[in-house]
C-alpha cells in the first residue's frame, strides 16, 4: 500500500508541476485573448470576480468573445507576420540541415578518440549566454564589422555589404544558434549505423552515391526529422534574433507579440497571437512525438 502511494506521488509531482506552470498560465492567456481591451489595471475586461456568484460567472462568460482573433485574421500585419515567420522558420531549418548533415556525417566517421572532442565542440557554444552569442553577430555582420572588413581586405568586394538589419542576418543568426540541435540528433543516428551496411549495399551493386541515398539517408531519417523539429519549433516563435539582427523590416510573430504587449499594451491581441503561435506549433510537436514513439518501437 505504501509502495503504491509512493508511486502515485511520483506521478503526481510532475503533473502538478505542469498544471501549475503550464496549464494554468495557458488558460489565463486563453482567457485574456478572449477579453476586450480596457483602460484599466489590468488592461482588459471582464475580470473574474468569484464573489459575484453563479450569476456573476455567467455574465463573465457572456462577455468573452473572439474579437481579438477576428482582428488578427483581418489585419494584414498579423497575417504577414505569420507567413513571414513560417517562411523564415522553414527556410532556416532547411539551411541548418544543409550545414548540419555534413558536420554530423564527418563526426560519425571520425576516429573513435576524436568523436567526444567533436561533440564537445558542438556543445561548447552553450557555455556562453544565448543573448551574448547573438549580439556578437552584430559585431561580425555590421557594415564596419569583421566580415565586411575581411572581405574588403581580400578584395572580393569594394563596398561593405548590407547584411545587418536584413532577413539574411536573421537566417544567419537562426542557423548559427540552432545548429547544435540539428547536428546532435543526426550524429546520434549516423554514429549507430553499422559501416558494413554500406559495404553490403556496394557489394550488391550500388555506387557510393546510390548507397548513400538508399541506405545512409533512410537510416538517418529519424535524426533528420528530430533535428528539423528541434530547429523549426523555436525558430517559429523566435524573438531575440530578429530583434537584434533583423531590424525593423523583418516581421516575425515573436516581435509582433512583444510590440502588442509592451508598446501597445493590447493584452488581448498579444494573447491571441501567443495562442495562434502555440496552436501552429502543436501540430509539428505532435508529429514529432509520434515519430519518436515509432522510432523507440523500432529500436526495441
Amino acid at each position: 500500500m505504501a509502495a503504491g502511494l509512493r508511486r502515485y506521488l511520483l506521478i503526481v509531482v510532475p503533473y502538478a508541476w505542469l498544471l501549475v506552470f503550464f496549464l494554468a498560465p495557458f488558460f489565463i492567456v486563453l482567457k485574456i485573448s478572449l477579453s476586450d481591451l480596457a483602460v484599466a489595471m489590468p488592461p482588459y475586461t471582464p475580470t473574474f470576480d468569484p464573489s459575484a456568484g453563479w450569476e456573476g460567472f455567467k455574465a463573465f462568460i457572456s462577455q468573452l468573445d473572439f474579437e481579438s482573433y477576428i482582428f488578427l485574421a483581418t489585419d494584414s500585419l498579423y497575417v504577414n507576420a505569420f507567413f513571414s515567420s513560417l517562411q523564415i522558420a522553414v527556410l532556416s531549418t532547411f539551411l541548418a540541415l544543409l550545414v548540419a548533415f555534413p558536420m554530423a556525417y564527418g563526426m560519425a566517421r571520425a576516429p573513435d578518440w576524436l568523436r567526444p572532442l567533436l561533440v564537445m565542440g558542438v556543445i561548447l557554444p552553450f557555455w556562453t549566454s544565448f543573448l551574448i552569442r547573438v549580439y556578437a553577430w552584430v559585431g561580425i555582420l555590421r557594415s564596419e564589422g569583421l566580415l565586411n572588413q575581411f572581405l574588403i581586405w581580400t578584395g572580393i568586394i569594394s563596398e561593405p555589404l548590407q547584411i545587418m538589419n536584413t532577413p539574411v542576418a536573421v537566417y544567419i543568426g537562426i542557423v548559427y544558434s540552432y545548429l547544435p540541435f540539428m547536428v546532435l540528433p543526426i550524429y546520434a543516428t549516423l554514429e549507430k549505423m553499422d559501416e558494413s551496411l554500406l559495404e553490403a549495399a556496394i557489394d550488391l551493386g550500388c555506387s557510393r552515391v546510390k548507397a548513400f541515398w538508399l541506405v545512409t539517408l533512410p537510416l538517418a531519417m529519424p535524426g533528420i526529422i528530430a533535428g528539423c523539429f528541434l530547429v523549426f519549433i523555436p525558430a517559429m516563435g523566435e524573438f531575440v534574433i530578429p530583434e537584434l539582427l533583423g531590424g525593423s523590416r523583418t516581421l516575425m510573430m515573436g516581435k509582433t507579440l512583444w510590440n502588442e504587449f509592451f508598446s501597445n499594451r493590447d493584452w488581448p491581441v498579444a494573447s491571441a497571437v501567443a495562442i495562434v503561435l502555440l496552436l501552429t506549433l502543436v501540430v509539428p510537436i505532435v508529429i514529432f512525438q509520434r515519430q519518436a514513439e515509432r522510432q523507440q518501437e523500432a529500436g526495441r
Binding site: 551496411l197 559495404e199 556496394i202 557489394d203 550488391l204 537510416l219
Partner: protein, 364 residues
C-alpha cells in the same frame, strides 16, 4: 581452370603485413574454407576478393582476369557479412531484392528471383517482416538469400555462423552445404572454428600470420599436418620432442625412429623429410593412443605412466597420463561402457601404445 587465383598477394596496413605473399588457387564448385586464428589475415584476403581492400602487391584473378582494380559493385562476387548487414529499414523481401533491383533485370524477373530465394531459405512466411523482428537464425538465412540472389560466380562468407548458438550452428552448417551443392556456386568461407571448416569445406586453407600454412582436404589436414602449427591448430594433439634416428622406407612412406628426451625410442611416419640427428617433433592424436592397465603383447610404440587426470565429457574420456620424465600425454577413448564399469581410474599405472602410422614426425 581455377575460378580464383591469388598470385603472390600482399596487403600491408602501415608496417604490418596482414597478408604476406599468398598464392592460392580455388576451383569451381569448391566449398573452400579459410581457417586461422584471429588476426591471421583470412578476413583481409576475403575482403580483397570482394573488393573492399586492394592488394599492396600481387594479382587476384577471377576466371583468368585480373580484378585487382575492379570496384566491388562491378564484381560478380557477393559477400555474406559477419554481422549479416541486413538493411534495418527494409523488410525481408526488399532486402533480398536489393541487389536484383540494382541490376538490369525487369520487374517480373526481380520478383520471380526474390520468390525463388525466399523459397530456398524457407522464409516465405516472413517476407514482410523487418530484420529486427527475426531471430538470429532467420536473419542468417535472409543474409544468405540476399547474397545469393544475384547468382554470383563466387559467394564469400565471413564467419557466417559466428552469431548462432552451438546447436543451431551445427544444423545450419549442413544447410549451407546442401544449398551449395544444390546451386553449384563456389563458396569461400572464413572461419576461426576448425570444426566448422572441417564440416562444411571440401578444402581448407589454414593461415597464420598472413601466410598460408597448408592447403588440403579436411582429412588430409587432420591426418597429415605439415607443421607443428597445423597439427596443433586442428584438433587435439600430443607433441613429443625428440631427435630423429634411423629412417626407413616402406610402401613408399618414410618412417623414422625418434629418440625422445626421456630416452625412449618411438617410431613414426615422416610428415616432412628429415635426416637422422635432426631435432624433430612427434605429433600424435589422443584418440589414436590406446590405454591399458596391462602391458600390450606387441606394440611399435609403448610408454607407461600414471593417470593424472580424467576429463569425462560423456561420449569420450580423455586420460592425462604423466610419464616418468614428467611430461603429460593425452589419450582418448570412446565410452562404450557405462561409467561404473570403467576399469581405469586416477593414480593407476597404465600403458600407452600406438602404431607407427598413428604418429607423424614434424620438423621443428
Amino acid at each position: 581452370m581455377p575460378i580464383v587465383e591469388f598470385d603472390a598477394v600482399r596487403k600491408n596496413f602501415g608496417d604490418f603485413a596482414a597478408v604476406d605473399g599468398v598464392s592460392l588457387k580455388i576451383y569451381p564448385r569448391e566449398f573452400f574454407a579459410l581457417l586461422g586464428p584471429s588476426g591471421c589475415g583470412k578476413t583481409t584476403l576475403l575482403r580483397m576478393l570482394a573488393g573492399f581492400e586492394t592488394p599492396t602487391s600481387g594479382r587476384i584473378l577471377l576466371d583468368g582476369q585480373d580484378i585487382s582494380t575492379v570496384p566491388p559493385n562491378r564484381r560478380p562476387v557477393n559477400m555474406m557479412f559477419q554481422s549479416y548487414a541486413l538493411f534495418p529499414h527494409l523488410n525481408v523481401r526488399d532486402n533480398i531484392a536489393f541487389g536484383l533491383k540494382r541490376s538490369n533485370r525487369s520487374k517480373s524477373e526481380v520478383e520471380d528471383r526474390t520468390a525463388e530465394m525466399l523459397n530456398l531459405v524457407q522464409m516465405n512466411d516472413f517476407a514482410s517482416r523487418k530484420p529486427h523482428q527475426l531471430s538470429g537464425g532467420q536473419r542468417q538465412r535472409v543474409a544468405l538469400a540476399r547474397s545469393l540472389a544475384k547468382n554470383p560466380k563466387l559467394l564469400l562468407l565471413d564467419e557466417p555462423l559466428g552469431a548462432l548458438d552451438a546447436k543451431l550452428r551445427e544444423q545450419t552448417q549442413f544447410e549451407l552445404v546442401n544449398i551449395q551443392e544444390k546451386l553449384g556456386t563456389t563458396f569461400i568461407i572464413v572461419t576461426h572454428d576448425q570444426e566448422e571448416a572441417m564440416t562444411v569445406a571440401t578444402r581448407i586453407g589454414l593461415m597464420n600470420r598472413g601466410s598460408l600454412m597448408q592447403v588440403a582436404t579436411p582429412s588430409e589436414i587432420y591426418e597429415n599436418p605439415n607443421s607443428r602449427f597445423v597439427a596443433d591448430f586442428i584438433g587435439d594433439v600430443n607433441m613429443i620432442e625428440g631427435t630423429a634416428g634411423k629412417v626407413t622406407k616402406r610402401d613408399g612412406e618414410a618412417y623414422a625412429e625418434v629418440k625422445t628426451m626421456s630416452a625412449a625410442t618411438l617410431k613414426a611416419r615422416c610428415g616432412v623429410p628429415v635426416s637422422s640427428g635432426e631435432k624433430c617433433w612427434l605429433a600424435i592424436r589422443p584418440e589414436k593412443i590406446a590405454v591399458s592397465r596391462t602391458r600390450p603383447r606387441s606394440a611399435a610404440n609403448l610408454v607407461s605412466g600414471c593417470v593424472d587426470d580424467i576429463a569425462y565429457v560423456g561420449n569420450l574420456s580423455t586420460y592425462h597420463v604423466k610419464l616418468a620424465d614428467g611430461s603429460l600425454i593425452k589419450a582418448q577413448t570412446a565410452n562404450r561402457e557405462r561409467i561404473a564399469r570403467r576399469e581405469i581410474t586416477w593414480e593407476d599405472e597404465v600403458w600407452l601404445s600406438w602404431s607407427p602410422d598413428a604418429a607423424i614426425m614434424l620438423s621443428d
